[in-house]
Amino acid sequence: MILALTIWVITLVTTALFIGRYWWFPAVASAHGPALDQQFMLTLVVTGLVFILAQLGLGYLIVHFRDRPGRHVRYSHGSNKLEILWTLATTVLFFSVVLAGQDIWASLNLQNAPAGSLQIEITGQQFQWNVRYPGADGKFGKTSNTLINDSAGNFVGLDERDAAAQDDVVVPTMAVPVNRPVELLLRSKDVTHSFFVRELRIKQDAVPGMTVPIHFTATKLGTYEIACAELCGLGHHRMRSVIEVLSEADYHNWLKERSD
């Protein structure tokens, strides 16, 4: 009896907290973000119903069928009809939800960044993000890991002999123009990191030895924090940078200040 009540109370409190959204996502700031949030909400509604019905049902069963005088057991080994019914029902329900979300993933990851996207290279290291812009020529210059020299400030191993490398900009924080597609090329020079910006709804591991591309379009002006989401060592919890989403003009000024 008390157990059933407890289960019900836990269920109701949980449901209330999810409906009340007291602790929730930050406002979305990317083009693909709303679709992701919608898929989350769809999943929440479906799993929420399953959760509520199962917990309330469990509570009901243990109250209604508790041992008391005169209670007779309905001897039964089960029902194949019911087995087939709930197997089919859960299959259809769960697969429908999952299939509904595949499109979002496909558009983000199976398709390349739109032509003309702004390319930015991100190189993770213990415990900072290095952000490289190709500069005025629009081309990334050569780099080599043998040229990396943190103490001299060459964090990504830029090869100064390459003409295309001359105007590359390497900075510790990021800015992107609003409403323009951006392609990030994620790399790491030591261990695995993960590039995470909550408001943009993006996260991707930066794996040493690989260059992983992701793309997004920021839709809302503001400054957002970049966090590391893959355990990378003792400073993992403070591997922070910021990304500023600026108007096209402000973005150009921002980059120009850092090019000189």
Binding site: L17, I62, T91, F94, T146, D190, S194, P208, G209
Partner: protein, 592 residues
């Protein structure tokens, strides 16, 4: 050629002398208890680590003088360092997953009760059984040694992702000797688990008594049997991965370390390895491992729900097939841990669908548990409370899986506290509830005495409300974007909002962990002073309830029982009492 081979039954003579009887014992029951006690010790260590972790997460930078006395390196000036936090976290995960969740339900209870439930005098290979336990014991010692070596315990998490775990001390403290001990311990544990798995599988196939067909096995035996098959196929892969990592670390090979790394401004002299190779091997083991931890709990829950609802399990065949289906599918879902790892996005979509498939047999099990309660006569023993708690937690921990198996939704939730909430709910506390349920249920058989029901119920209530208070709020932390494996939440502006929730969780954790002392007291007090138990105190139906408590050395006194019916014949209409033992020859039907 066709001459029948006559196999002499192995004659078991009870060993004389303390060492052969209790230390290097060949008796599956003693070995089961040894495993259980090892898990009990491990879970206490694991919980102590949680206390320290939860303290640091809620109140980082607080000066606690006693910490400096206890951990002069980890907490200089009484303040925990981030690397000390990460080493606690790594050891907590490793100890809990391997030495508690893999050890207690399968090696502990499985060892003790599988032979009894199938009517066998012992496991198929008693010496191998003893060897499995002692290798596990050495493996635990090797792991714990990491605490005391220079540099301390490793900080790379229980998943030990390279390059972090492969590069040595240059990548961080604890990644030298401590990490090497960690890998060695895991490799030893794999060997022990492989030997154990062989034993379980052979025993189930070969040593079932007359009449014990596969479809008359208690669902606990089904669970242990399928778990052993998973262990056999999964631990071999982890062993290989562990050996490769050890070679990278000690011999200088490059299985997991790519060319051209620069760590702390120094070139690393390795070429040609792949960090993703480790992740594939690790999770090929790691996902079946989740089911290795939880399947025995599912078996125990079925057994206990049926016993205390006084009703046959609903859909026995569906339950057995669901266990097999979960086992099978668990081997093709590992990529859902790697959606954002840089793996092909096409693979992600396939792994997403296979993972969804696992939800179906899981749902079948839940429906059948509810079906078992429906129309029953439910008795609320402590064992039953924990079994009902298991169902509740299994549902809660299960539904959050439907978020994480979608690559698109996982983009945001991956490596946040949402994941921490999900796996603690389902593989942590649900599995622990299975262990508690089994303990309260079988204790009278193991020690001929009852655990105190009064203490047991208090223990249940605090634990049940406690675990929900700890892990439910973590879902919201995940929704807020709180990354996991952070030593503190001080460096980010947005993390200021999560601190009050962490304080609440920490307090809930202290209370819940404190309540586990009740269990420890109950356990050891009841071994000596508990209420004397009858042979079959729960009026249950399976074979272990037909022998004295504790059962004699050869279990059935040299006479193999004969099985006449399925495992859960409760409240059969017309029968003289509300349960019929599997070994009862004639149904005692009273015609009216």
């Amino acid at each position: 050629m066709t001459e029948a081979v006559h196999v002499e039954p192995v004659v078991h003579q009870a060993p004389q002398g303390f060492i052969r009887k209790y230390i290097f014992s060949l008796d599956h029951k003693v070995i089961g208890i040894q495993y259980y006690l090892l898990a009990l010790f491990s879970v206490m260590v694991g919980m102590l680590l949680s206390v320290l972790m939860r303290f640091n997460l809620a109140w980082p930078g607080t000066e606690v003088p006693i910490l400096e006395t206890l951990f002069p390196v980890g907490a200089p000036g009484g303040i925990m360092t981030p690397e000390f936090y990460l080493s606690l976290m790594t050891m907590h995960g490793t100890i809990m997953v391997f030495f508690v969740l893999t050890t207690a339900p399968q090696s502990g209870f499985g060892n003790y009760f599988l032979p009894l439930q199938i009517g066998a005098p012992d496991m198929a290979f008693p010496t191998l059984n003893m060897l499995s336990f002692w290798i596990t014991f050495v493996s635990l010692l090797v792991l714990l040694a990491a605490f005391v070596v220079t540099g301390g315990a490793p900080i790379s998490g229980w998943t030990g992702y390279p390059p972090l775990s492969a590069l040595g001390e240059i990548a961080g403290p604890g990644l030298g000797t401590g990490q090497t001990l960690w890998v060695a311990s895991i490799a030893l544990f794999c060997v022990a688990s492989l030997l154990g798995a062989l034993n379980f599988i052979t025993t189930t196939i070969d040593l079932r008594t007359k009449g014990m067909s596969m479809m008359r096995l208690p669902l606990t035996v089904w669970a242990w049997f399928v778990t052993a098959i998973l262990a056999l196929l999964a631990f071999g892969v982890l062993l290989a991965a562990g050996v490769l990592l050890l070679l990278d670390r000690v011999v200088g090979t490059s299985f997991f370390i790519p060319a051209g790394l620069v760590v702390s401004d120094q070139m690393i002299n390795h070429k040609g390895g792949s960090p993703l190779l480790w992740q594939h091997l690790f999770w090929f083991f790691g996902h079946p491992e989740v089911y290795i931890a939880i399947l025995p709990g599912m078996g125990v829950t079925s057994q206990i729900l049926s016993t205390f609802a006084r009703k046959p399990i609903f859909g026995y065949r569906a339950m057995a097939y669901a266990i097999m289906a979960i086992g099978l599918v668990s081997f093709i879902v590992w990529g859902h841990h790697m959606f954002l790892s840089g793996m092909s996005p096409y693979s992600a979509m396939v792994f997403s669908l296979t993972t969804t498939a696992v939800a179906v047999p899981s749902a079948i099990k839940t429906f059948n548990w509810l079906g078992t309660l429906w129309g029953g006569r439910v008795r609320f023993t402590t064992a039953m409370l924990f079994a009902i708690g298991f169902v509740s937690l299994f549902v809660t921990g299960g539904v959050s899986g439907l978020f994480l198996n979608q690559p698109s939704v996982d983009i945001y939730l991956h490596d946040t506290y949402f994941v921490v909430a999900h796996f603690h709910m389902i593989m942590g506390v649900a599995a622990i509830f299975g262990i508690f349920a089994a303990t309260y249920y079988w204790f009278p058989k193991m020690f001929a005495r009852h655990l105190s029901e009064r203490l047991g119920k208090i223990h249940f209530w605090i634990t049940f409300v406690g675990v929900y208070s700890i892990f439910m709020p973590m879902h919201f932390l995940g929704v807020m974007g709180n990354p996991r494996r952070y030593a503190e939440f001080t460096a980010f502006e947005f993390l200021a909002d999560v601190v009050p929730i962490h304080e609440f969780i920490s307090i809930a954790a202290f209370v819940t962990i404190g309540a586990q002392l009740l269990f420890a007291v109950n356990f050891f007090w009841s071994i000596a002073r508990g209420k004397i138990a009858e042979i079959n105190p729960w009026s249950a139906t399976t074979l272990e309830w037909t022998v004295p408590s504790p059962p004699p050395h050869d279990n059935f006194g040299g006479r193999a029982p004969v099985v006449h019916r399925g495992p859960y014949e409760y409240s059969v209409p017309g029968a003289s009492r509300d349960f019929i033992l599997q070994s009862e020859p004639e149904m005692k039907v009273v015609h009216q």
